[in-house]
């Protein structure tokens, strides 16, 4: 019984990380929030593997830990250090407006559009579905390339937990595949950010408009 409670706790932490991301200005905070989110994920997977004593899920959690908690943040941090692109996490909407949007999204997650997900308690629905919508909103809202990458990564985490809570556990191999997928994605996006910086001098995505001229 308390496992369900702990899992909900971890889901709540993931949700809070997303909220922090939406508010935070500096990139390093974003990365740190992503780090915590991944840790929560590892925790959930660790309990599951411990609870069901299945060895594959153990491997999955370890790989999860390596990729999401250690490699991804390091990569992003190195980019920030190298190019001193720290303060560029500017947003379109100011903080009160973003919070307003977050509220709307959580109400929307709460609405009966998602009522068929009977497995989720209303709270969990807000946390997970709301979390997903908020991370998408986060990527839309941010101008900096790195923050957009983190938004996508947090979206991936939310989907993972959402899938987990709905009991859509696939075979371990598939999950490992997904993880590798995320891993390669992070490497590619980091290279991509480097080229943006090299070409445009800053990671502000609005410069991409010159491409159109």
């Amino acid at each position: 019984m308390n496992i369900i409670f702990q899992l909900q706790l971890f889901a709540l932490v993931i949700f809070l990380c997303i909220v922090v991301m939406n508010i935070a200005k500096k990139n390093t905070i974003l990365i740190f929030a992503y780090l915590i989110q991944s840790l929560m994920l590892v925790a959930i997977m660790g309990i599951k593997s411990y609870h069901e004593m299945s060895f594959e899920i153990g491997i999955v959690t370890i790989i999860l830990l390596i990729i999401k908690v250690i490699i991804a943040p390091q990569l992003l941090l190195r980019i920030i250090k190298q190019h001193k692109a720290n303060i560029s996490a500017t947003t379109y909407l100011n903080v009160p407006m973003t919070l307003g949007c977050l509220v709307i999204l959580s109400i929307f997650a709460q609405s009966d559009v998602f009522s068929p997900f009977t497995a989720l308690t209303p709270l969990l629905r807000v946390l997970l579905i709301g979390g997903m919508l908020m991370s998408i909103f986060f990527t839309i809202n941010r101008k900096g390339a790195i923050s957009q990458i983190i938004g996508i990564l947090s979206l991936e985490n939310c989907i993972f937990t959402f899938g987990y809570f709905l009991g859509l556990q696939q075979s371990a191999a598939l999950e490992i595949g997904m993880l590798f997928d995320v891993f390669f994605w992070i490497i590619i996006s980091s290279i991509f950010v480097r080229t943006i910086i090299k070409h445009f001098g800053s990671i502000d995505v609005t410069q991409l408009r010159e491409l159109k001229k």
Partner: protein, 675 residues
Amino acid sequence: MQNLFFTSLLVLTGGSIISLIVQRDTKLSYVSSVFSMFGSLLALIFSIGALITQSTLTTTLPTSFPMFNISLHIDPLAAFFILIVSLIALPASLYGIGYMKQYAKEYNLGVFGFFYNIFLISLLLVITAHNALYFLFVWEIMSLSSLFLVIFENKKLQIIKSGFIYFIMTHAATAFILLSFLLLFQFTGSFDFETIKQHFASIPFVIQTIIFLCMIIGFGTKAGIVPFHIWLPWAHSAAPSHVSSLMSGVMIKIGIFMLFKMFLDILPQTPLWLGYVVLIIGAVSSILGVLYALSEHDIKRLPAYHSIENIGIILLGLGSGLIFIALKQPSLAMLAITAGLFHTLNHAVFKSLLFLGAGSVISQTHTRNIEEYGGLIKLMPYTAIFFLVGAVAISGLPPFNGFVSEWLTFQSLFSGIATSSILIKSIFIFGAACLTFTGGLAAACFVKAFGITFLARSRSIESEKATEVSPLLLISMGTLAVLCLTLGVFSFFVITNIQLIVKNLSLFSSKTSSLSSTGISLQVNQNVAHLNMPVIFLVMAVFIALSFGLVYIVSRKQKVVLRTVWDCGFNALSPKMEITATGFSRTLILIFRGIFQPSKQHEIEYVDADIRYFSKSKTVTLGIVNIYEAYLYYPLHNGLSIISKQIRKIQSGNVNQYLLYIFILLLGLLIFARY
């Protein structure tokens, strides 16, 4: 029998692959044409065999895709059209061997050979396709391969432009065809023509009308009916001549074939209004086609416009046939449809002959403008004779095949005029009137085309140096010319066979046609009208010989002296003083001012600007407004560009904005899915 058809396909594919392999050295470029000749010969033998045995072959090869199974269905109607395809492909490929030499240096003949063979294969497959998706697939190959053939001389910008127009128009047509097939699929649940055939009656009336209209627009654009004919003169004049003869003689007929197949075989019991629409489209495109041919002075665009006219005549036959079906008079319907089919065959033969003739003239004079020709009959005697045969056949003059099919179309229209209700009678009168004026104007147009090109003296240095083309080209033109005559004179034999084809269609299985042929003469509905072509040909020959004999007896002592043309005592009458094609057709253009809206601008350049007496040069430009482009295509084009400018605004180039669109769409879908 059936493997003959597959061997011909195999030979053609072999030809295309080999022509790719051997594309580097130009000496072997004729290999692909030899293959295509051999392939079309096999197809010809197969089609004749299939016609004689009246057998229908159906084979289906299921493929891994769900709806898409390659099903071939060769009923006598398809066999007849395979006959047309191979009958024209044979001389065209033979012509190609000799004709392509002039392109050897600039362009890559191997690629041309490849697309040529692919084009032939797709033609044969389109006719035999019996599954809508498979049909669309092969139809697309046909359009693309013919596109590459059209833009073969890709060094000239004009040709690329015409290829571009051709590309857009054919794909607009394919869109309409696709729409009609999708609607059919939606209501009959399958893409196979057989099942469509059974379930068609269940489709509600409104949907049926939409399907019919889409089919008319789709296949009509491919056939080149009037409002959608814009691409035809561009594409057929851009392609090398033997390709444009294939396209004009055969590819247009695919549109016609599908109209015949759809309205008569697959979707039976068509409503009455469809007959009206087809007849009126036929009449309008025949009269406007010939009128625009009159104003055309490009030797390859002129026959292209005439293709539109002849398509109109074919549609006249089909339209009157559909009306008779709707009026429950199957015997007259069979007469009308036989007329349409026979004119399809005739038009394929004499149109490709004209294009081959035009091609050989262009290969000698290196220009396509009629005004610069003249006097070629003395330099290229055989080409002149073959072109004359084609010209006489297309204007529908007696001993040749054009006359017989126009005679049949007339008979079907007259029997239509004899019907009771005034509306139907007036439509048939309109159709018959258009046909008569088209016949007359076609004769005027081809007097201009033949007279200005071949007669009198040459109007430019280029055409003075013209010499007779290589015998290869002459043989292919010769076979087509002889075919024109034999089809005309022995038309009773051909028509009885076409009659069998029409009787084989599901609509007329038990009915007797009003057109019967006893011995060598054709009767129409209980000897109302007779036509006995062999005897007419003989009587004409005898009487002309008689006049030779008579004159020889009376005045054999008289001498014939050759002197210069009577020029009212002038010094030599220069070739520039001969009548030009513009001058020839100017009277008719001024008569039909309403349609052409001719414009005339004078520019006079004076030696000294303020003394306006001595002009250095005078130029008169005669322009004609192409009403389709002016009133149909430009407004459409401008409207589209305005709308697209509005839509462009949402492309702001900002990544976040795009993400926002995705997000909004996601939310919308979620809501939509829920309710």
